[in-house]
Every structure is written in C-alpha cells, then in structure tokens.
Amino acid sequence: MNGPATGGPGRATGVVPEAAGAAGTTAGTASGTTEDAALALGDDALVLSHRLAEWAGHAPALEEEVALANLALDLLGQARTLLTMVGDEDRLAFCRQERAFRNVQLVEQPNGDFAHTIARQLYFSTYQELLWEQLAAGDGPFAPLAAKAGPETAYHRDHAVTWTLRLGDGTRLSRERMQRAVDALWRYTGELTRPVAGLAGVDWAALAAGWAERVGATLRAATLTVPEAPARAVWSAGGGRQGIHTEPFGRLLAEMQHLHRSHPGARW
C-alpha cells in the first residue's frame, strides 16, 4: 500500500505495476467484500461523471457538449448500478463524508482546461476498459455490468485517444497544454492499477502492463512525451481507495450533497 513509487528513469512507461511481485492473478487482492469493490468502482464512476457534467454549457464546441454529457451519463449509469449493489444509491452518494468515499484520486481532480480533462479521461478510460474486459470474461458479480459497460467505455477511450492525438499533434499551443496536462495528472495514475479490495478475478499485473502499453502508444502517436515522474505521491496514510482524498474533493462533495442534505428524508 505504501511502497515506494519509482518511475525508473529511461523506462518507456514509467509505471511499476506493484502487483507484479505477487501471484498477480485472481487471489492476489487484499481482503474485502464484493460491496467494498462495488463501492470503489461506483465512486470512481460517480465522481468522474460529476466532473464531466461540470462542462455543460462551457464546452469548446457543440459536438463536445454532446460528447461530454454522454460520457457523464454513461458513467452515472454505471455508478447507479454499482452503488445499488451496496445499498440505497442516494444515501450512499449524498450522505457519506469525504473519508468514506473510495474513488481513486484521479477522478476527483478539477477539470482544468480541455486538455486536462482529456488527459484525465485517457488515463481513466484506458484503465476502465481493461478492467471491464477482464471482469466480463469471468462470471463474478460484476460480469453482467462489465459486459454492458465495456463497449460504452470503448467509446470513451476512443474519444479521449482522438482528442489526445488532435491536441498533442495539433498546434504548438495545444501540444504545450496537452503535455502540461499529461505531466500534471501522471502522479495519480499509479493508483489506478492497484488491486481493489474485494475485487476478485483481475490480473492486476496484466492490467497495469496493458495500461502502460496503450497509454504510452497513444502519447507517442500524439508526439507527446511519456512522463518519467513518480506515478504516486508518497504518504503512509494511503490514497483514494483508503478514503484519503485531495482538497478539491471536499468542495466537490459540498456542492453535490448540499441540496439533498438540506432536506433530510425528503423525496425528489
């Protein structure tokens, strides 16, 4: 959980898949229940959906208004399905405190400019697509959702890849902004490929390798440099999966939860 994160100078990917040492297959997860895993995956989708929906009315083109809303809606649908596996979706979304959320820190990062949003999407959707692929191939409790969400997530990743290419290989200004975003968010990518408590049936080493390969290929095709910086911050308290979030997250929750909490017990 707290192992040193190394980029390994000169390594093309800069990511050390930390589960590589262990068996790396189905049983290699920390103990946890299916509900724990559903909460983690559900929170990822819930929080990222929220960030994407913040673009409504501010997107750089009408096609992107439609696209970002679509992504937000897909992710919210996944979140609702996952949270419902755990309990009442609204009670979970609106009445938990910061430390009880189990999303990775990547998804709670503010949108920034469009390049920042695309970099975040590239990192997350690449991970999510690989995860759904593995889960759909098994027969665990997440298989039905994974089979359904997989093709949708493929569209999300395709959208992110296409924009990464356009922005990286567009104008000098767009490349600067895209590289800045790629670099700034890299520190949150290590957490993506760490085992999720309670989630069985995932080969995390393979997932991490697949992630590194796909992201690396996309960045290079976009004439961008793959960061060599560490992919995680060093703090013994842990990361998003342990309920340790970043400062913007509290503000996100304050906005998201305010109205619901203002009318306890009300129905909408």
Partner: protein, 314 residues
Amino acid sequence: MHEGVYREFEETIAAGERIEPRDAMPPEYRATLIRQIAQHAHSEIIGMQPEANWITRAPSLRRKAILIAKVQDEAGHGLYLYGAAETLGARRDELLDRLHAGRQKYSSIFNYPTLTWADVGAIGWLVDGAAIVNQVPLCRCSYGPYARAMTRICKEESFHQRQGYELLLALSHGTEEQHEMAQDAVNRWWWPSLMMFGPPDGESPRTERSMAWKIKRHTNDELRQRFVDIVVPQAASLGLTLPDPLLRWNEERGHHDFGPIDWAEFHAVLRGEGPCNAQRLGQRRRAHEEGAWVREAAAAYAARHAARPAGRAA
C-alpha cells in the same frame, strides 16, 4: 410577389407541399428561414445554461441522470438545427458569430435565472410545454428540413417536458418546504412562459408574411391561448396555483380568460435588460473564445492527417 421566377415555389406553398433545399426560393424566404432556424438553434444551446446550473446539485442520482440527458438532448437538437440551417447555405460559424454579436437572438425566456431546484421542474413543465405548443404547428412548416426537424425534436422533448411535471409533482407532494419551493418557482416562471409566444397579434410585424409562406401556422395569441388552456388543469393536478387572480374559465368563449401581460418587461428583456442576458451571452462567448485553441488544434490535425477535409466543429 415574385411572378414567374418563383411560380413553382408559390404553387408548392399553395398546395401545402414541402420546399426542399435544392428548390428555387425567394431570397426573403431563405433569409427568414435561416434566421428562424438559427434562432431556434441558439435557443437550444443557450437554454442549456439555466438547467446545467443545477446538475452538480441535483438532489438524487435519478434526477441528475435525467437532467444530464436533457442537456445532452438540447445540445444535440442545436446541432441538428444548425444542420438544417446549413441546408439553406448558412454556415454554423457565421450563425454563431451573429449570436455572439447580438445580431441574432435566442428565446428570451432563458434570460431568467434558475434560483432553486424547483425552477428546473418549472422549466420542464412550463417552458418546454410552451416550446412544444409553438413547435407542433411547425411540423407542418413549408420548409422540409425544418418541418422534419420539428417532428423529431417534439417527440424527444415530450419526455423531458413530462419529467419537469413529475419533478414538480414530487415537490408539491413532499415536505412543506418542498411544496413552497415548487409554488415559488411557478410564481416566477408563469408570466415569462406566456411571453414566450411573442407580442400580441396586432404588434407582431413578421407574422403576416411568415403565415403566407406557411412558415408560421398560427398566430401568437392563438398559441398562447392554447397553452393556457392546456396548463391550467395540469396546475390543478399538481396541487399548485398559477399567479394570476384573473385566470378563470370563460364558458362563452370556451377558453380560459387570463390577466394582462406586462409587455414592458417583455420588451425590456428583449432589449437586453433582463436578469440574465449579460450572463447568458457572456458565458456563451467565453466558452467559444476559450475553446478556440481546441478547435484550431482539431483543424490543424485534420489538415495534416485526413485524406479529405473533415467537417468539424465551428
């Protein structure tokens, strides 16, 4: 009007048939339609703003999903309508320039603020309701692409209109605070919704010509009356009142009588003096300007890589 040259055009209109993009048409017909379709498209995209205002605070995940879908719907309809305007030779980036410069308008209802969650419901129920009443006759508009767009859009909007009604229903039957919230929203959105149908018939300059060309099929007052008659019983079902002490059923006319509309407010808002005019247009311009580098990057990439030019965002 245009003897000979546009005889076929006149005959098509008279026969109640459709004019299609490749048909000959008088320049004024073309210009009127471009303007009307463009302003409709502008209304869809500006209309996203008051609703998007509440997405991040939606009080349940289901309502959040419905609201995001609604905003996507509006953006998609904007895209579709700009496409319809393009069949007449207009270009989206030119139309957007006119919007940003204030030379083309959008429905002035969106110059009002959404102050509470209940406003989202009021917009769905009243504003979309009024828009649908306006749009249904346009399904028989003489210009083919616009008529077909209206048919599609009406069907897709009716889902969201109903969701607005149901949102208010839940509030009205909820806690006392929720009920008050709903009533307050309706009190603020009622009169502006009536203004959506435009000035009284006597004062509406474009109506006569648009009706002759079968672009407009009913007068402002006719549509306004239709809307009132539909909505009054719905308000009763909602358990909410409408803020008009003169509103009552007139047995003789077979319609509801209603009180006078404050046309001074209507014209002031049209002139730019409404509560949100500057905010709406400002946000729209800012999104466009701040997005320029993104669009330029897409164009640069396409020029460098595509075999043929890609039709991309304006």
